[in-house]
Each structure stands twice: as structure tokens, then as C-alpha cells.
Amino acid sequence: MHLHRLERIWLTFGVGILAVFLATVTTAAIVDGFVPPSHVQSIDPAKVAQTPPFDKPGLHKLANGSYEAYYVAEIFSFTPHHLQIPLGAHVTFYVTSLDVVHGFSVPETGVNTMVTPGWVSTVSHTFRTRGKFLLVCNEYCGIEHQTMADSIEVK
């Protein structure tokens, strides 16, 4: 099939740009670990409160100096409330849901993941600025969805 010369140039340019994009996100994934939250770990949603680590929601410091935060989402709140994080802490969030699908998003940071019942989501972030951040549910979960929010304070 014949392709017009100008169309060949245009398609080479277009496909070339896509190749550059793909190379960029792939390099970022392999070299810097920039992959979307893709934790594969299931949990019995009826027994979350008895299943470690969700039996003790909150911030926990690990031996290597980094932190883990265990969160439980349910209609229409997150536990723990008003988490306090020391400045510069590298925190890995573990989140699961007791009921329906929720979102777990801290705007202005890279913290953003879906939370589905029966699965554990993880997402990591290093908090380098002081201040009070908003934590919101960004997936519709019911009639009071707009009130499902909390705060995270870095100090």
C-alpha cells in the first residue's frame, strides 16, 4: 500500500514521539521505580480488624528509619485520624477497605491510589515540606462521599 511522502514523515514523527514517551516512562519505572501502585496482596475484608497490620492502624517506624502507615477506609471515614508525620520521613501507606471501593489521595503529593475491599493498596512518599495536607477519598462511595476526608500533618 502506498503512503504519501508527507504522511510517512508525519507518521514517523508521531510514532517517534510515542516511542520517546514510552522510553521515558519505562526508564522511570526501571531506574527510579516510578510505577503506578500495583500491590498484589489480598485480605479478608470481613476480618480486617484482626489482620495485622490493620489491627493497629497508624504510623509505625521501622528499624531502617523509614515509616509505614496503616490505614483502614470505610464509609465515610479513614482511620487513623489526623496522622502526624515527622519532616523528611519516607512513608509507605498500606490501605484497605472494609466495605466499598474508595480512593486514597493526598493532593499536591504523589499519594494517590484506589482502595478496593479484599485487597491491600500501597503507595510511598517522602514528605519534604511542613504543613497540613488534606487526605480525600476520590472515588464515589456513597451519599456522604464528599465528607470522607482527613488530614495529615508534617512537622
Binding site: L11, L18, P36, S42, V101, P117, Y140
Partner: protein, 557 residues
């Protein structure tokens, strides 16, 4: 003379003209149903926009999320689908002129309508406030799922009718190419059948569960089946817009299809590549490993290529026609185009919006970059500037040609129609840019109120919501203008000169013949199914082999 002999001439007098009259009534039913859904859906959209800007308070008795569900279903599933079934029935029937029966076509329309009515009433009654994505374990009334399944079943009847017409053509015209408008329609519906298998399987899980026959639901599996359908749904819309851009728009400036072969190749690529890409809607889902998500990133980049080809073909068609008319250069071509014809301006303004939409789409599908925008207002801005932009505006523009053709009446208030396309464009630009900005500032989507009790992180969002409400109000006014033109044309007491033709553009004489293999739709359908299986077998096997839990349903509204 026997009674039979007396009847015989009457029967043989059923001619192509009679068939056209029947076809027109059928297409009219589709197009006006789509228009009704658009107007009602737009009204709900207006309420949402004003509510989010805190300009009005939607009463608790008819809450925001019910309005949002109705808006999503009526726009994304009802308006688009009925317009596409109408448009493609028209494109197939007219490009394969034949003394045909429209019985199967009517069966399809009526089944679609039945499903739509059941689903819409269930939503309005407040028993299905699950948004148009109906993510389990939110549990709607069974009538919601059953109605939606019936709607899909109706589209299958329409698909069967159109594909049987194409098969009839191939059988009776050996060696001839399928006429291009019918070819584009056939590719779209083959793709649609493959895509809707996903949502049908999902309904096979949801319906027994909503009836209480099964105790729980596999949440991630239903999400994956939904998005297996949900992204090709987007391409269902886009292929219809492309059908208009390739086949109809050149007629507004006496142009031709740039290349028959490349048009066919684009539609075949869309047929094959539209389905195996759905995981890019689930980049942030747990339970799906990063490798599968990366594979879907690559495949989604692949489905961008036929859009690049389309962009080239459209502008090439513009330029070739402009040169024939003695115009030169970029500005010469642009100025020469028929900007005062609403059929042209609808699609052309839609193409401009698609520049934003395509750019945003590449961001969304770029793997880890999605983290920055996922479930923020950016996404809402993105799909309004795509399905609400190039798709809806091209449909509306095409309706200004289609409605006179099928009703046999002159367009009512053509100046109103022309103004409508520009007003819609401005409204959509304001609304979608505000939404994109709100998303970059972190504002979540699907939320009735973004104030979050005055929290510091939420203060920058309100002004963007005001922008979205202003844009949304402008769009609503323009949709009312469209409704006035559509209804006015139906009752206008002035016959159109050309009753039975919506002219489709011809192909350039010098354009090369397409390889015959492109018309072998069965083979391409098989390839599309294989690719879909390759893309989904892995992630589904992974999920089913991980110990996973069924979740009981909940009504949280």
C-alpha cells in the same frame, strides 16, 4: 381475476423509494431518542455544575449523586449509543441501496428503548445511585443491571442488521469493495460486539448477585470486565465521529475522501486495537501487577496511530480541495473552509477540542504519570473535551445534515444552528479548561462539594468550579438551541429539495485501491479477539490464582 393476482402488482410495487421511507422513520426514531437523552442529560449536567460551584443546593430528596448517575448514563450510554446506531444505520442503508426490510432494525431500536426506559426509571427512583461505572460492591436494584443489559442486547440486533446488509452486499457484488460508509459502520459494530462481551459477562455476575442469588461479588474481576468494555466504548464514540469526518465533512467543501485505502486501514486498526487497552483506567488498582499495566500502556499508544492517520487524512482532504479552488497556504486553506456551514463547523470545532483531548489522553495513559491526575477533575475535563467535544459536537453538526435528509424538510433556523456550534465550543473550552486546572490542583472528581469544611488544601478549587459552572451553563443553552432546531425541522412546513440523499464524499480518482484483505472483517475480528485474550488472560489469571474474597453488596446512598 383471483384475489392473489390482484394483490401481486401492489406487492411488486414495493420499491427502493418505499424502503427509503421506512429507513427514514427508523433513523428518525434513533436520532430523536438521542436528542431527548442529550437534552435531559444536559439539564442534569447543569444542576451538577451549579451545585459544585455552590450556586445552588440540590435537595437531599433528589441528591447530587442520583443526578450524576443519570447524567453519566444518559450522556455516555444513551445519547451516544442511539445517535451512533441511527447514524450507522443511515450510513449502511444509504451506501448499500436495496429494497430492504427494516424489521430487524426496528426490533433493535425497540429493545434498546425498553432497556433505556427501565434503567433510567430505576436511576430516577433513587434505587441505582451507583454512577455510570456501577462499581461493585455498590449494589443497585436488579432492574438497573437488567435494563442496561437489555440496552446492549438491542445494539446487538442493530449490529446484526447492519452486518447482514454488508454480507448481502458482498454476496451480490463479488469482487466489489464494501462502500466506505458501510465499511466504517461494520468495523465499528464488530469492535462493539467484541467490547460488549466484557460488560455482558460482568452483568452475568452482577444480576444474580443483585437478586440475592449469590452471596458476594469479586470486586476486582467486575472492575476489569467493566474497563474491558469501558475503553472500547470510548472508541465506539470516536469511530462514529471519524465516520463523519471521513465521509460527510468533505461534502461540505466539495472535497473527497483523501484515501480510501488509508481510511479502511484506520478503521481496521481501531477495530483491532480498541479493546486490549482497558487497564489504563486501572493503573492505580491493587491486585494487578505493574507489568500488565505497562503492556496496556504500550497497546494504548498503539491505538493512537490510527488517530494520527486520521488527522493527516482530514487536513490533506482540506488542502487538496482548497488547492483545486485556487487557494494556497495554511491560512488560505483555513479561511476558504465553509465555517458558516454548521455541518462543517460542528466537526471542525470538535477537531480543535480534540487537540486538548488527545494531549490529555496521552498524559492519562502514560503509566506512572496517571498518578498525578487519576480520579481528579482533570479526568472529568478530559472526557468532556473528548466525548463532549469532538464526539458530541460532530454528532450535532452531522444532525444538521441528517435530520433534513431523514425528515425531508429544510433545516429550521440555520443561523441558530450555526451559532449553536460556536457557543457550544466556547462553553466546552471554558468548562474543560477549568476542570483540567482543578484536577492539576488536586481536586477530586465525583464529589458533590469540594470545600471539605474549608480545609487549606481545598481552597484553590472553588474558583475552578465556578469556571466549570459558567462553561456548563453556556453548553446547556447551546444544547437547548440544538433541540429547537431539531424539533423545529421536524415540523417545518418546507420540503427539502433532495429528499433521500445525505451525500457521502467520493474517493479521489488518483487514490490507490485498498488491499482486498482489509475487507475481510472476520479475520480482523479474530485478530482483535486474540489480542484481547493476550492482554487480559494474564491479569485475570493472576487475580483468580491469588486467594481472593467475595464481598457482599451494599447500598450506601
Amino acid at each position: 381475476m383471483s384475489a392473489a393476482a390482484m394483490r401481486a402488482p401492489v406487492r411488486s410495487a414495493y420499491t427502493r423509494a418505499h424502503a427509503v421511507a421506512h429507513e427514514n422513520i427508523l433513523v428518525t426514531a434513533h436520532v430523536y431518542t438521542a436528542t431527548a437523552a442529550l437534552v435531559i442529560g444536559a439539564f442534569f449536567g447543569l444542576l451538577q455544575g451549579l451545585s459544585r460551584a455552590n450556586a445552588i443546593v440540590i435537595p437531599a430528596s433528589f441528591d447530587y449523586y442520583r443526578v450524576l448517575t443519570a447524567h453519566g448514563v444518559l450522556m455516555a450510554l444513551v445519547f451516544t449509543t442511539f445517535f451512533i446506531t441511527g447514524l450507522m444505520t443511515f450510513a449502511t442503508y444509504r451506501s448499500i441501496p436495496r429494497v430492504r426490510s427494516v424489521t430487524l432494525g426496528w426490533a433493535g431500536y425497540l429493545v434498546m428503548l425498553l432497556g433505556t426506559i427501565v434503567t433510567t426509571l430505576t436511576i430516577l427512583s433513587g434505587n441505582a445511585t451507583v454512577l455510570y461505572t456501577f462499581y461493585a460492591p455498590l449494589k443497585a436494584h436488579p432492574a438497573f443491571y437488567i435494563g442496561a443489559t437489555v440496552l446492549v442486547a438491542g445494539t446487538w440486533l442493530v449490529a446484526a442488521d447492519l452486518l447482514m446488509n454488508v454480507a448481502w452486499f458482498q454476496k451480490n457484488n463479488p469482487g466489489k469493495r464494501i462502500p466506505l460508509p458501510a465499511f466504517c459502520s461494520a468495523c465499528t459494530f464488530v469492535m462493539w460486539i467484541i467490547a460488549t462481551i466484557g460488560v455482558t459477562l460482568e452483568m452475568g455476575l452482577l444480576i444474580p448477585w443483585s437478586l440475592g442469588w449469590t452471596p458476594g461479588i469479586d470486586v476486582e474481576l467486575t472492575r476489569m470486565l467493566f474497563w474491558y468494555f469501558g475503553h472500547p466504548l470510548v472508541y465506539f464514540w470516536i469511530m462514529a465521529a471519524y465516520l463523519i469526518w471521513y465521509n460527510v465533512i468533505p461534502t461540505t467543501y466539495n472535497g473527497k475522501v483523501f484515501s480510501d485505502a488509508l481510511t479502511r486501514l484506520s478503521f481496521i486498526m481501531l477495530l483491532v486495537l480498541s479493546t486490549p487497552v482497558g487497564l489504563h483506567h486501572q493503573f492505580l488498582d491493587p491486585g494487578i501487577s505493574a507489568g500488565w499495566k505497562w503492556l496496556h500502556t504500550v497497546l494504548t499508544y498503539g491505538v493512537v496511530i490510527p488517530s494520527f492517520m486520521t488527522a493527516f487524512a482530514i487536513f490533506a482532504s482540506f488542502e487538496i480541495a482548497a488547492r483545486r479552488a485556487g487557494k494556497r497556504g495554511f491560512l488560505g486553506t483555513i479561511r476558504w473552509l465553509p465555517w458558516k456551514d454548521p455541518v462543517f463547523s460542528g466537526s471542525a470545532l470538535g477537531m480543535l477540542l480534540f487537540l486538548i483531548g488527545g494531549f490529555g489522553g496521552i498524559v492519562n495513559t502514560s503509566y506512572s504519570m496517571d498518578v498525578l491526575v487519576h480520579n481528579t477533575m482533570w479526568i472529568v475535563g478530559h472526557f468532556h473535551v473528548t466525548v463532549g467535544g469532538p464526539v458530541a459536537l460532530s454528532f450535532i453538526g452531522a444532525a444538521y445534515r441528517l435530520v433534513p435528509a431523514i425528515t425531508g424538510r429544510k433545516l429550521f433556523a440555520p443561523k441558530l444552528a450555526l451559532a449553536q456550534t460556536y457557543i457550544y465550543f466556547v462553553g466546552m473550552l471554558i468548562m474543560s479548561v477549568s476542570m483540567h486546572v482543578a484536577g492539576l490542583l488536586g481536586s477530586p472528581r465525583r464529589t458533590s462539594d469540594v470545600t471539605y469544611f474549608g480545609a487549606a488544601g481545598a481552597q484553590s478549587w472553588h474558583v475552578e468550579m465556578v469556571g466549570a459552572a459558567v462553561g456548563g451553563t453556556i453548553i446547556f443553552i447551546s444544547i437547548l438551541m440544538f433541540a429547537v432546531v431539531a424539533v423545529g425541522t421536524r415540523f417545518k412546513n418546507e420540503r427539502a429539495e433532495e429528499r433521500d440523499e445525505l451525500a457521502f464524499a467520493g474517493t479521489d480518482e488518483q487514490a490507490m485501491q485498498a488491499p482486498p484483505v482489509l475487507d475481510k472483517l472476520g479475520r480482523w475480528a479474530a485478530l482483535a479477539i486474540v489480542l484481547a485474550l493476550v492482554a487480559y488472560a494474564g491479569p485475570i489469571r493472576d487475580q483468580l490464582s491469588t486467594p481472593h474474597y467475595l464481598v457482599p453488596g451494599m447500598r450506601t446512598w
